[in-house]
């Protein structure tokens, strides 16, 4: 009966712990955010055309997010692996589902802030604007895409944590898995801001995809996380 509330309570504690560690280390703000920003700048170098940049800006925002997910996931588990904290938490009998949900929640919150910064960067650097009628779609897209990315990131991050070759294995596993998020979130963002004649109503099927993705990987990840990190 009370296992669900306990799971949530532990998840919140884990999330708060992760966010506190991140806040004190300042790595997310001092390294990951600048990394994402410089990615946005070098996209402009590569594409070298204002018109092209304006057209592909939503995709670039999500691509920069995807790269940052890889960095943030490595961070989320580097914190745990340094002194065997993940094993200690498991030995202490903490429900792996709660660890998973908590870490995903913390990652999701960091990602959400990062996405806002990247959107602002796109407005400034790539001359983007979002019409008012697209704001709701954009917000919903941000939330559901973030949930999906966090769910996949923590799942594969937990698997590769502490393994040799994790830096290379994580992108190999994560990028194909989050391809639907990249496609869906980009198309929905284009619809929200009316890129290339898209209208807001074009975005709702994509939002559906993002929501299903987030739920599927959220549930699948919570179930799979325990067996994956068990020694």
């Amino acid at each position: 009966m009370n296992s669900a509330p306990t799971t949530w309570r532990i998840a919140r504690l884990v999330a708060a712990k992760d966010l506190r560690v991140e806040w004190h280390s300042r790595i997310a703000t001092n390294q990951v955010l600048p990394f994402a920003a410089v990615t946005m700048v070098i996209f402009a170098f590569a594409l070298d055309s204002d018109a092209v940049l304006q057209r592909v800006a939503p995709g670039l925002v999500w691509l920069a997010t995807l790269f940052s997910v890889l960095v943030l996931v490595q961070r989320a588990f580097a914190v745990e692996a340094e002194d065997g904290a993940l094993e200690a938490t498991r030995v202490a009998g903490v429900d792996p589902r709660a660890i998973y949900l908590g870490k995903a929640l913390a990652l999701g919150l960091q990602l959400f802030v990062l996405e806002i910064v990247l959107l602002v960067a796109a407005v400034v650097l790539y001359a983007q604007s979002v019409p008012l009628e697209g704001a709701l779609l954009l917000t919903a897209t941000l939330i559901s895409a973030t949930c999906g990315l966090a769910a996949v990131g923590i799942l594969y991050g937990g698997l590769t944590a502490g393994q040799s070759g994790r830096e290379t294995l994580l992108p190999l596993l994560t990028l194909p898995a989050v391809a639907p998020v990249l496609i869906g979130a980009t198309r929905a963002t284009e619809a929200a801001r009316g890129t290339a004649g898209a209208v807001v109503s074009d975005g709702w099927p994509w939002l559906g995809l993002l929501a299903v993705f987030a739920v599927a990987f959220g549930v699948g990840g919570a179930l799979a996380f325990g067996p994956l990190i068990d020694e």
């Binding site: 799942l155 698997l159 590769t160 393994q163 040799s164 070759g165 294995l169 190999l172 596993l173 990028l175 194909p176 898995a177 391809a179 639907p180 496609i183 869906g184 198309r187 099927p205 994509w206 995809l209 299903v212 993705f213 599927a216 990987f217 699948g220 799979a224 067996p227 994956l228 068990d230 020694e231």
Partner: protein, 271 residues
């Protein structure tokens, strides 16, 4: 480790076992001959008897490899998922299931590589380009990368049981992943030639001899898959046995060494 594994690893191999070099048995030899015969059959029908297509002309012959390899690859991935599921949820945790899952995924990945390679050739001739960002092509490419990831997870190290559990979970997650990828790229774009043989809307429209050649291809590649699966899963079993024996030998050698000369180091190390 399963009971059969430990029995085989611990006891000296039976005369039959010791005289056997490699992974072949009578069954695989029969299967191997059948594979060669059916491949020859496919060559004769695919390159000889089967007519050229009205639109695709001679390029249609590529499809006698392209279509069977992807079908058998799907079969291979299904076997991987099935064995992963049985391993994870079944009562008896047999490592044999894990090895079949791994071997099947390896073969299926190789078959998808063949599908993609010959498909690119066919596309160059028929469409004028090697690659199209079409739903089925894109899904197949992502499927390919997903299972390369699965194979990488299998090589992460740790005990055999750890490997089995981890890869079983990833094998099942891949099943979750592929439909989502397919849904997203289908929403994105679709122009691949509609499936002709398994099209539920209308009856089979292709020439009888072409269909027969395709059928021969499916049989030939299925036999090849089965033959490779038997050999590869046995090869994996041997690798596991070798691993265990190597560890046992190292332990025994270390014990003999420690027993030979009394030394204070081990106690010092643990403190």
């Amino acid at each position: 480790m399963t009971s059969t594994d430990s029995a085989l690893a611990a006891t000296p191999a039976s005369p039959d076992e010791s005289s056997r070099h490699g992974t072949g048995t009578k069954a695989t030899r029969v299967l191997g001959v059948a594979t060669i015969v059916s491949m020859g059959w496919l060559l004769v029908f695919g390159l000889g008897f089967s007519p050229a297509d009205r639109d695709q002309e001679e390029a249609v012959r590529i499809l006698y490899v392209h279509v069977p390899t992807i079908w058998v690859a799907y079969l291979g991935f299904a076997v991987t998922a099935l064995c992963s599921g049985i391993y994870l949820f079944g009562k008896k945790k047999s490592l044999q299931l894990d090895r079949i899952a791994g071997a099947s995924a390896e073969i299926a990945v190789a078959f998808v590589a063949v599908t993609l390679a010959v498909g690119a050739m066919w596309g160059r001739i028929t469409w004028g380009v090697y690659w199209q960002w079409d739903a089925r092509l894109t899904t197949t490419a992502l499927l390919f990368v997903t299972y390369i990831g699965y194979l990488a997870v299998r090589r992460l190290g740790g005990s055999h049981e750890q490997r089995a559990k981890r890869s079983a979970v990833i094998g099942l997650i891949a099943v979750l992943e592929v439909p989502l990828v397919h849904w997203s790229v289908r929403l994105w774009r679709s122009l691949h030639q509609e499936a002709t043989v398994l099209n539920p809307d209308d009856g089979v429209q292709i020439d009888g001899l072409m269909l027969f050649s395709l059928f021969v291809g499916v049989i030939a590649f299925t036999l090849l898959y089965a033959w490779l699966l038997l050999h590869r899963s046995r090869g994996m079993w041997m690798e596991d046995v070798l691993d265990d024996r190597g560890l046992d030998d190292a332990l025994a050698a270390r014990r003999a060494e420690a027993g030979g000369r009394p030394s204070p180091e081990p106690a010092g190390e643990t403190s």
